[in-house]
């Protein structure tokens, strides 16, 4: 309950902050539409030269684009602004005030900045997913849709956990302010089904920087390609990684000693 109250307070604060930059918001939305246009054009170019990409049709790639945009929004609306603030607070010691608050510091650090206008991107992503699923010729059962939603959420949790670990490393290595660049660098790999990548790249985007776990895997669930044991494994992995991440965060906090010492 307290968490929800805090979230809504953060949200209101961020709305006010972004209202100061109205013209910027309009320009950003236009640019965002431009990139959507480019993404659809590039899919059109691919599918004017082939019928399937690694066995996936146009509809499925549009749905994948939607899921990719969900992860992308997580990255731009939450991960980047909060990381920037966090890195700054480690360097100048303002992290002290965050720790003094009577709330879970991990929650505070990861949710205090939200790029509010990006919410419309979420709507766009859902539209893409719905349109894509309807375009695809394969029939989908309600169970497949359910596992798809479930695995999309577990994928996000895994990426969120990885993010926590990456920024927690800053407690040990203060100068490590490139902490999320590696996530961003491999993000583009989520645009296409990981099954078309060479094995070494597939291993990187599945096990090391698990972008594909949040993009390709949910789509595979939608296509009914995953077995029950696999689905359960992903759910288990997301729970374990979240647990591990919060342990590492706490260990990192113990390491933190302010900026002056």
């Amino acid at each position: 309950m307290q968490t929800l109250k805090l979230l809504s307070a953060f949200f209101k604060m961020n709305v006010q902050m972004s209202l100061a930059y109205r013209a910027d918001t309009v320009v950003n939305i236009l640019l965002n539409l431009m990139w959507l246009g480019w993404e659809l054009l590039s899919l059109n170019i691919i599918f004017s030269n082939t019928e399937t990409l690694g066995g996936w049709g146009l509809g499925e790639l549009i749905a994948l684009l939607g899921v990719f945009r969900l992860v992308n929004t997580l990255m731009i609306a939450l991960i980047w602004p909060n990381t920037e603030k966090f890195n700054q607070s480690i360097r100048d010691g303002s992290m002290d005030y965050t720790i003094l608050q009577p709330v879970n510091s991990m929650f505070l650090v990861t949710f205090s900045r939200i790029t509010v206008w990006r919410f419309w991107d979420l709507i766009l992503a859902v539209v893409l997913i719905v349109v894509g699923v309807n375009m695809s010729t394969a029939t989908t059962t309600p169970l497949q849709i359910l596992t798809f939603i479930l695995l999309a959420i577990t994928g996000m949790i895994i990426i969120y956990s990885l993010w926590i670990v990456l920024i927690a490393l800053t407690f040990w290595f203060v100068k490590f302010d490139n902490n999320v660049t590696i996530l961003q660098a491999l993000l583009d790999a989520g645009r296409y089904p990981a099954t078309v990548y060479p094995v070494w790249l597939r291993i990187i985007v599945t096990f090391i920087i698990p972008i594909a776990v949040a993009t390709t895997i949910p789509l595979q669930a939608l296509r009914g390609e995953l077995e029950m044991t696999q689905i359960l494994t992903f759910i288990l992995v997301s729970i374990v990684s979240f647990f591990l991440a919060s342990r590492i965060w706490r260990a990192g906090l113990k390491q933190y000693s302010g900026a002056s010492s």
Partner: protein, 265 residues
């Protein structure tokens, strides 16, 4: 003049060397999409045998050469210069008797380029063994012909980016304008896919734009896939765009500096 450049080089090299860890991150960031496009198109060509005349190996060699060409012809001036106009720290450079964009910033860009290319070499060799491209189509004359094309591509690209960066004299939204410019490059340079696979309209327009000089044109020169007629046409367009970009940059810069002093920063 030579002495000035020598000293500028020493300063900028030392400055960039300091950030070598950042540089490696940048390199990683920028390597990923060409490798993904490579994977996507070789997968399609692998299934169908060929796409519009391009075999899987044609795609591998195209993107492998693209990694090098892009690194040579691209620049980062928007990131290293626009903020100087916005926060006024350009004043200090304006009183020096040398052009800030065509000396210091240019040398800084080249130093950055040298370091990223040094970082790229080992990665490129690893990729070479992973993808095993067949470069038998490459000829010495093709490589030699591509060198002036890449230099022209870099100069034109640098002048155009410098002109866009100079728009910061007028607007704070210069990064948004640059993002738009970036999308235009993506569309017309052959970065996403070799131009013959793009829609006909885009191909037709691309012929008359400078952006194919950044990637498609030098890549195809190296791979020896252009006819004599196409080579001549490409160089004529490069000459035309060199003149246009020089005039355009000079005009934007001159008007911009006038405004800058009028604000009195």
């Amino acid at each position: 003049m030579f002495l000035i450049f020598k000293r500028l080089w020493q300063v900028n090299w030392a400055e960039q060397w300091q950030y070598r860890a950042n540089l490696l991150m940048y390199l990683l960031y920028w390597l990923v999409s060409p490798i993904i496009y490579l994977a996507v198109w070789t997968s399609i060509a692998g299934v169908k045998g060929e796409v519009n005349g391009f075999t899987a190996n044609d795609f591998v060699t195209y993107y492998m050469v693209l990694l090098i060409c892009d690194q040579i012809t691209s620049n980062i001036i928007i990131h290293t210069f626009a903020y100087k106009i916005q926060d006024g720290s350009l004043s200090g450079e304006l009183v020096k008797p040398i052009h800030p964009m065509l000396t210091n910033a240019l040398v800084n860009n080249i130093a950055f380029k040298m370091l990223t290319i040094m970082g790229l070499i080992p990665i490129w060799i690893i990729l070479f063994f992973l993808f095993k491209p067949d470069f038998s189509g490459v000829t010495l004359s093709g490589v030699l012909l591509s060198i002036p094309a890449m230099v022209l591509g870099f100069v034109i690209g640098y002048l155009l980016s410098a002109a866009i960066t100079s728009l910061a004299f007028w607007t704070t939204r210069v990064y948004s304008i640059h993002e738009f410019y970036f999308a235009i490059i993506l569309l017309f340079s052959g970065q996403f896919v070799p131009l013959p696979l793009m829609p006909k309209v885009i191909q037709d327009i691309a012929q008359f734009l400078p952006f194919q000089l950044f990637m498609y044109y030098p890549i195809q020169l190296i791979l020896g896939r252009l006819s004599a007629e196409q080579i001549i046409q490409g160089y004529i367009m490069a000459g035309v765009w060199l003149v246009i970009s020089i005039l355009f940059f000079n005009w934007v810069w001159r008007e911009g500096v006038k405004r800058f002093s009028a604000v009195g920063a």
